[in-house]
Symmetry: C2
Subunit: 456 residues, 2 copies
């Protein structure tokens, strides 16, 4: 792709020159040759003055095609909109695929949205308004209304004719949805099926009645799972009365999968990895809320140790192993958290009983704890020549790991039961919580054997 890249840069330079020379014809010719994504790359490399020049050269439809590809997660989109004359921007929004226009309008304040809707073509405004109603992260929020639907009582030839007319406007023409007079979804036929059948075959004879669809209120994660299972390129969305409302296409599902992965990853790390700024001050501000909250939880651990200060002053050897025990238990808790969150995300595995999972996790904790505990028992006994100390550290390690394992799996499972996203139970939260329980376990066990350590 390197020669491609060079050719592309050359063309970008020529486009810049055409803008500078105010040569609209040359600019349009070069620009419309580019792939839409590349048009977007060029557009985003410009100054606002150059972009204003582009609005004069290109139609709202041409800009809309480009915006359909660059809109995802681009923080400058609202700036771009405000550069355009309101009428131009409204036309542009009307020409975009409805789902993308809605995403874009959702980033504006309500007043601005209302302004654009009031000056755009009535039909487009109506479609956009309908989609604006749907809750975030549902099938309704990611669907588009540009699909092709036909009735069953016609031949392949006439269906192909319909398709030919709607091909330019539709977001996908590779599935054609079959509806009855009341717009109930009754079947689906792929373009592949249309192609391999003869022109005179009736649609009713070749359509698939077993159509997989999602409901408009379904969670976008479940919609993504249906895409994964069936390897579809698009899925129809219906209301609870099986009326066809729109379609979700696979490119939007890739965004959903990316977003969900980033949010799980962010949860585990206790930081929003998508709000990455190059400004250290802003980065710090996005990380501090978690850090300070956890600092207070950490203070609970500190004040717990404070209770045992006398014990520590008499047997300072105990201080040596605090971080080893809290650290190892924290590591085990993070592992069990990640496994639990992942398991909850895999819908198929949800059927396993709550109690079964918890018991399994306790057992896993006991096994890892016992082996880790035995290892540290051997190390400490030899290193410090003190098997009693080794025994205390080993036993404390075993219980601390078991409890951390249990917390790591129980907390996300409880959050899931209560209807929260289990992924927000962050790794740092689990490790900080497990510091507290580990210290509690450690000093209680050490107290039992206290006489042994005095003066060591």
């Amino acid at each position: 792709m390197d020669e491609n890249q060079e050719a592309l840069e050359l063309q970008f330079d020529q486009l810049q020159a055409a803008l500078a020379a105010d040569d609209m014809k040359q600019f349009r010719e070069l620009f419309l040759e580019l792939h839409i994504f590349e048009q977007g790359q060029f557009y985003q490399s410009l100054t606002d003055e150059q972009r204003r020049q582009m609005y004069a050269y290109l139609s709202p439809k041409e800009i809309a095609d480009m915006f359909d590809v660059i809109e995802e997660d681009n923080i400058h989109m609202t700036d771009y909109l405000s550069e355009m004359r309101p009428g131009y921007a409204a036309d542009m929004l009307a020409e975009m695929y409805t789902d993308n226009a809605v995403d874009l309008l959702n980033t504006l304040d309500k007043k601005q949205t209302a302004k654009y809707l009031s000056i755009m073509p009535h039909e487009s405004a109506r479609e956009i308004r309908e989609l604006l109603h749907y809750e975030d992260d549902t099938a309704g929020a990611i669907m588009t209304t540009e699909y092709v639907s036909i009735v069953a009582n016609q031949t392949v030839r006439s269906a192909m004719y319909v398709l030919k007319n709607e091909a330019t406007a539709a977001e996908t023409i590779y599935y054609i949805y079959v509806v009855d007079q009341a717009n109930h979804l009754v079947g689906v036929i792929s373009l592949r099926d249309l192609i391999i059948n003869d022109d005179d075959v009736m649609i009713a004879d070749i359509l698939s009645e077993r159509v997989i669809s999602v409901h408009v209120g379904d969670d976008q994660e479940d919609v993504a799972q249906t895409f994964r299972d069936y390897d579809f390129l698009a899925l129809p969305v219906t209301d609870y009365d099986e009326h066809l409302l729109g379609i979700v296409t696979v490119d939007d599902i890739i965004d959903v999968i990316d977003d969900e992965a980033a949010s799980d990853y962010s949860g585990l790390a206790g930081v929003n990895v998508e709000e990455v700024s190059e400004n250290p001050m802003r980065s710090a501000m996005s990380r501090l809320p978690w850090l300070i909250t956890l600092l207070f939880l950490g203070m609970a651990t500190a004040s717990l140790i404070s209770h045992y200060e006398e014990l520590v002053s008499e047997a300072s050897i105990l201080a040596v192993f605090i971080s080893l025990i809290t650290g190892t238990a924290g590591n085990a808790g993070t592992q069990s958290l990640a496994v639990a969150v992942r398991r909850l995300a895999m819908t198929e595995d949800k059927e396993r009983s709550f109690l079964g999972t918890v018991m399994g996790e306790i057992l896993t904790g006991l096994i890892t704890g016992a082996i880790t505990g035995l290892t540290i028992f051997a190390i400490v006994s030899i290193w410090k020549g003190n098997p009693t100390l080794g025994f205390v550290i080993g036993i404390a390690m075993m219980f601390a790991i078991t409890v951390a394992n249990l917390a790591g799996s129980l907390i996300p499972m409880l959050m899931d039961k209560l209807g929260f996203d289990p992924a927000v139970a962050s790794g740092p939260f689990i490790t900080t919580l497990s510091d507290l329980t580990s210290v509690l376990i450690y000093f209680n066990i050490a107290s039992l054997f206290m006489q042994q350590f005095i003066g060591t």
Copy 2:
């Protein structure tokens, strides 16, 4: 989807009954009505005896269609294969899409693979052998050879005719690739373009010469990024001489994105979340390697504290804050690790200079450290009525966080530079390492102010 589910379960029961009654006609009728994914669900719910009965009822091609959908990450696939007569299994593999057959064969040992290849149709074996050569995680390893290609010198009508003939075998017919006599990729045309143009138009006049392709050795993550950028449903794969070798389809890209997300997530947690077993012993065995390795790193921290044991015995108050400082620095390190891994995954951001990123992360660390340090200074000064102690804890906290932040971003960046996957720098590794540096910083600062604490 609930009524769907009920209808499906009813049909599964009827299928079971047909198997029990040995009614092949009834079974085939009901089975072939199902969507392929549902066929797979039914198949996987059977006993091995019932599955053997199915092989007698269905052709290798019919089983192959189902295997194309269920093959991903299914650990029982090799068992299924070994249940079939070798000739049947070989025919089945030949009928699968080449990329899926290759995935499946890659899970077998070489002897078995060779056996199946030796008894399958020659042409299929040749195609599979070619794909088996490609390295894991490259475009070559995920591409398939079932694409449609045509030459430019023909009309839309004749291209549609070619398409009609190849539609059943091809994995996608929605892009048609245009090649010259030597099979060099020279253009692409979408089925949408064929549909909207008249029958007599020449392909040469409407094809897009600016075809985006990937090279066979490209990393699958880069291929996924190209899909994200351009919203394609398929991409052509070429060798370094621009010969067309195959295509990658979007369903495989969804698997790639899922796999990469799971591997990033696993890395952050220090456990392979994909190898989830319900057997606690197995779970424990998959988690122990990291835990024990980190235990030894933790021992370094313990022996470091051991050096300061005398200091602790004289000023036991110091022990109270060990876990607070190591814990908070660990949390900060995990945040910075996650941000760094994420930034490295976004290719666009790679251009930012190494030094710039490191300086930014140090600054972020200093800011978060200063604010956290100030907070803890205030709390400790009031709680313990000892501003000097508060100062020591606060300063130690600030430096510990700064160092943890730096380690969290530097380590994945160095791994990336050295050609490793930065995501394997796990969260638990960073926290355990930061325990060591935090303790070092803490006790060194405390030593400087030692006289103040003796006897407190």
